[in-house]
Symmetry: C2
Subunit: 385 residues, 2 copies
Amino acid sequence: MPDAVLDDISHRRYNPLRASWVLVSPHRTKRPWQGQQEAASKTTLPHYDPSCYLCPGNKRAQGDVNPHYRSTFVFVNDYSAVKEEHVDYENQDQDGSLPTFLLRAEPVTGKCYVLTFSPSHNLTLADLSPSQILPIVNTWTNIYTSHLSPHSPLAQVAHTTTMTPHSQTESFATPNAQYRYMQIFENKGAAMGCSNPHPHGQVWVTTGTPEEPGIELEQLQKYRREHEGANMLENYVTLEATKKERIVFENGSCVALCQWWATWPFEVMVLTKKHKRALVDLTDREKQDLAEVIAEVTRRYDNLFETQFPYSMGIHQAPLEGTKEEVEASHLHIHFYPPLLRSATVRKFLVGYELLAEPQRDITPEQAATRLRDCGGELYRKKLE
Amino acid sequence: MPDAVLDDISHRRYNPLRASWVLVSPHRTKRPWQGQQEAASKTTLPHYDPSCYLCPGNKRAQGDVNPHYRSTFVFVNDYSAVKEEHVDYENQDQDGSLPTFLLRAEPVTGKCYVLTFSPSHNLTLADLSPSQILPIVNTWTNIYTSHLSPHSPLAQVAHTTTMTPHSQTESFATPNAQYRYMQIFENKGAAMGCSNPHPHGQVWVTTGTPEEPGIELEQLQKYRREHEGANMLENYVTLEATKKERIVFENGSCVALCQWWATWPFEVMVLTKKHKRALVDLTDREKQDLAEVIAEVTRRYDNLFETQFPYSMGIHQAPLEGTKEEVEASHLHIHFYPPLLRSATVRKFLVGYELLAEPQRDITPEQAATRLRDCGGELYRKKLE
Ligand SMILES: O=P(O)(O)O[C@H]1O[C@H](CO)[C@@H](O)[C@H](O)[C@H]1O
Ligand SMILES: O=P(O)(O)O[C@H]1O[C@H](CO)[C@@H](O)[C@H](O)[C@H]1O
């Protein structure tokens, strides 16, 4: 049963996954909006766009030509944010003096991949069926496996999933170095900085542990130590399964929910019900379940405001190279961070107070979950056809 | 001298103020941009807008009428995110069981003020002279003073600054409760979620310590303990004054710089050169200097891309109620977070990787500082008149 008091008063909720707080102001949804409106969804895109650098057979920015791929396609980003070349860098003044602490830097080596979801220029995850999303889950698993440290406790279970014969990849099989972490993510929609509408995600691997997964990993390990080896997120899913009010969709092995501490108005977290350290821990059946939950979340998003719902989403899982404790404490989950608040054109801005003081949200996660539960069913665009 | 290696390789820089890292990819500035473009600056606004709820003499959303104010004007936000009414809330299942830890909340009491910068609907900080910005600095000081705990070590130095006779306020003199922290900030421009172009800022006070100032306060205290009572930001300013490459503008007591660990492309931090715990520590001369630096930063921002440069900015200083240690470790500073990257219409999106893994920037703080140093002088709009 929802906690009626919290529906009405401003309060903060604790995020145990990153040891931080979010300010919740449910009454503020009454505020009229006179600010910026997003552009409403563009006219329908074609199935193939000759000027798109992601469509099969087309030329990319640096001159490479895409193969005529027929499922997923992976290549190294032509404008990678991190590169494989190793450069030496030492902090200046290595004598413990001020500059060392106040002007501290370290070099980062890595690799950035782009992963198209399908050959179609106009089929987003919301348009795809679970069986069409499955090859994407398999590609994520394979790219993770191929970058996994041979010393990882996961190396024993990891094996490359047989792909549909049409999946293609340029070069992810042979990384030059052992990377520490792999961040798989998707930016969808112009409002989320996506620079090409052809549905695609990205995969960045780096030598260092990035901030966010690093904080989560600390918290997960701490919980495990303090709760006799229990897994925080497994406990959390079990708890939410009894409460029900924040659950959006669930099937045999996976669940999508608006978590207690969510920040974005319609933020969703996808988790496995049992403890899974990384994609490689999933059985074929569980991968199908995961694909179904991704289909359900993205379709409900589009149905909510009858628009191409923008978001950033990404997978957190065990580091590619990590201690046994780190790998065991990890729990595979997906974060969806969508900016829209009230309609296809009015978004929530995480600006001023949020940047300088504390993230703030208006509608509660329970209200968001209720709305997302209620907009299942066929994709609104299909009904219009 | 700039560190030439870091101009070219991807690296991470450490932020000692919040114990976090930012990924820097200087080579990525070459990336072509095909994504969303911001709307270019609107046509010129009128001096007075009869439909604006901030202009003098106009009616506000809930029916109140603004006085015919002639300098700054402060009132309680008609759609406050936090409210003064106290509500009891206890976490359920107070037996140390899972819900208590995984579903944790606390009530927040507070107050949200709006502060118009001047009666003019169309004069931004960039349009104002230092002597026109001084009343705003004085208003910030007064609202801080009037909410300060009588037990604060600052209570002895704090006294309400004599205001220009035209400044007006509805009700900030008598808070019902002792609040812990005051966040003063401004969201400027539609791109930063500002819902009314009439230049104004906000002031939120809360019973809890918000996340960001809380993290900074921990780090500042830690530094103070580990460096025999020294102040981190005072040390930092001293260091930057010898290096020069990140300094944008300085006068007798204040400096604006693109700090080593800045995240946004043209992020700027304004600091006092000497250790000042809060606005109330400033002499009249130092307040004038601060007003001048604010004028310089905002004017350079507008000149950079010849546009009304959007940003969120805010002041971090000592908590309203805090221990002696907390107050002594605090150092007054202003953060400017502007989103534009390459032009008036191309912004940096802190999305996907940034939200899920680690903040990432393209141009280096040294490059940004060079560009901001080079665009001083008269406001571009004045030259066009
Ligand atoms: O209070 P305003 O200006 O209406 O609203 C703006 O600032 C607030 C505080 O940073 C944010 O929570 C809102 O998302 C933003 O639109
Ligand atoms: O790599 P893209 O899609 O061109 O760029 C997008 O995603 C990146 C990773 O989240 C961000 O750093 C960019 O700001 C964003 O525009």
